[in-house]
Symmetry: C2
Subunit: 223 residues, 2 copies
């Protein structure tokens, strides 16, 4: 047998670095982490990570793929494409809410990320189940993904103060020229999750309507 390297010596590796990044994000409540902070957590020079990753974005992208694995693990197919699409996008939203910066890096830098790809494959499969053509499924995937990612990145950046700030600004607008705005002010930004689900259901309604039409056309042809 060859002599193994001492097990206690935790040497740097991609996994160790990503672990540290996620650990800081979880304990510190933000995933906007500098390489200097990451180096301190690892007890290593801030620039040491460049031996294992091309740049900072690559660290974030790999971290986000691991977060998506946890999101995917919660999901159990029900057989209803509508329910499954809904649950999947809610899970993705939760992942993005906890690690927005990491997700943004993944989105912007194309790379083979196994868990992200598995989720994308599932969405495309569910859209096909909803009677969409291949071309429509691709476009619908883009629309739903952009909706989920975009909305959630904003919600992750918002604070209770900033939301209250908008309500205050709108409330003090001139009611004679902007009546709808002033009336809606107290109702706005009360529950970002509810707003997200409302929009998601709107899109699912639209898809269902399309699916029903396809169904009708098929019966039309049959008789």
């Amino acid at each position: 047998m060859d002599a193994l390297p001492p097990a206690t010596t935790t040497r740097l590796s991609r996994d160790v670095i990503v672990d540290a990044y996620l650990r800081i994000a979880d304990t510190e409540g933000t995933d906007d982490i500098t390489l200097r902070r990451l180096g301190a957590e690892l007890g290593v020079d801030p620039t040491a990570v460049y031996r294992h990753f091309r740049d900072k974005d690559e660290i974030l992208a790999v971290a986000s793929d691991r977060v998506l694995a946890e999101a995917a693990a919660e999901l159990e197919p029900t057989g209803s494409w509508r329910q499954d699409l809904r649950a999947l996008h809610l899970a993705v939203r939760r992942a993005y809410l906890s690690h927005p910066k990491a997700m943004l890096a993944l989105q912007m830098h194309p790379a083979s990320m196994p868990n992200a790809e598995r989720l994308t494959d599932r969405v495309l499969g569910l859209l096909r189940q909803a009677c969409l053509s291949d071309a429509d499924a691709a476009v619908a995937y883009e629309a739903m993904e952009n909706y989920t990612v975009g909305t959630t990145l904003f919600d992750a950046g918002a604070t209770e103060e900033s939301l209250e700030g908008w309500r205050r600004v709108y409330r003090s607008a001139r009611a004679d020229v902007l009546p709808h705005l002033v009336a809606a002010a107290p109702l706005l930004y009360r529950d970002p999750d509810a707003a997200f689900e409302y929009g998601l259901d709107l899109m699912l309604d639209g898809l269902e309507r399309g699916a029903q039409r396809s169904e009708e056309e098929r019966r039309e042809e049959d008789r």
Copy 2:
């Protein structure tokens, strides 16, 4: 008559600064502009703008409001809430595509921006026209706004290379485990505008379905 200051002496002002910012953005094709670049354009020390704005974000927010004014000017109400909502969000998307960084600043820092408020008021009015309750109109506004802003900010950051990068990554996935992904690869990200419109129409379909239901319920009560 009082003596006027010499008209040729273009002194710094909020308008002059915002003008310069938009001029650089338009000629340079990006609105990610440093204060040093802005100072050079104005022929002034980079820090001089702090006499007129609290910070950089305030400059961007004011600039974005002016861009929204141009977007709003194109719009002519047709009487159909669906058509008007559609045209409005397409116009907002165009504004965000040309000045994404500025729009992000507006979104994140609550402030009274007249043109942004006018557009918000119009959206809320159109949603009420679609038979939505005040509470639903507020939530639907949030959903549509987040969809438009989020999607467009991503599209603004994407390049033909990054989109092609995603297609390549997906194409080279294992077809036996991710069949939908591999099949969809050549169809994806072909036309971001089309994907945006597809998702927007999906949401409008959902709203119309809700409007029809409200209509039916009213007739139900009548008899």
